[in-house]
Symmetry: C2
Amino acid sequence: MDSITLLGLCAAVLTTSAFLPQMVKTWRSKSAKDVSYLMLVTFMSGLFLWLVYGIYLKSLPIILANSVSFCFNFIILSLKIKYR
Amino acid sequence: MDSITLLGLCAAVLTTSAFLPQMVKTWRSKSAKDVSYLMLVTFMSGLFLWLVYGIYLKSLPIILANSVSFCFNFIILSLKIKYR
């Protein structure tokens, strides 16, 4: 694997895994009032389009990173609705 | 411009602009205690790597989307530190 691909994969792992601590924080504190609904919904719409884009390009890193991020953000949104 | 590129651009606009409502919400409510520090720092590290990746690939959409997202997240992080 060349160094540019490795760089892209590291970037994908970081921007995807970033939502894990937010998910854990929301689940523990049972509060997400400071997290914007509009951010979550807009971001998830964008992730969905990236996913379709990745499927068209048959790019596994784009498909994986965006589907995992979508799931994490869906869980954060569900927790926010649950704990409002 | 072909429809796949347009799809990718729409995805980039959505995942980038998603942070605007979070920025406005944090600025108005003067509170971001429910937003995870670890999420912001991990996400910004990932955005920085995507930016370097985009510079290597000479891809203007990747460079633009990630530098704008980085700025928005930097402002959210600064507001969180200011209002803690």
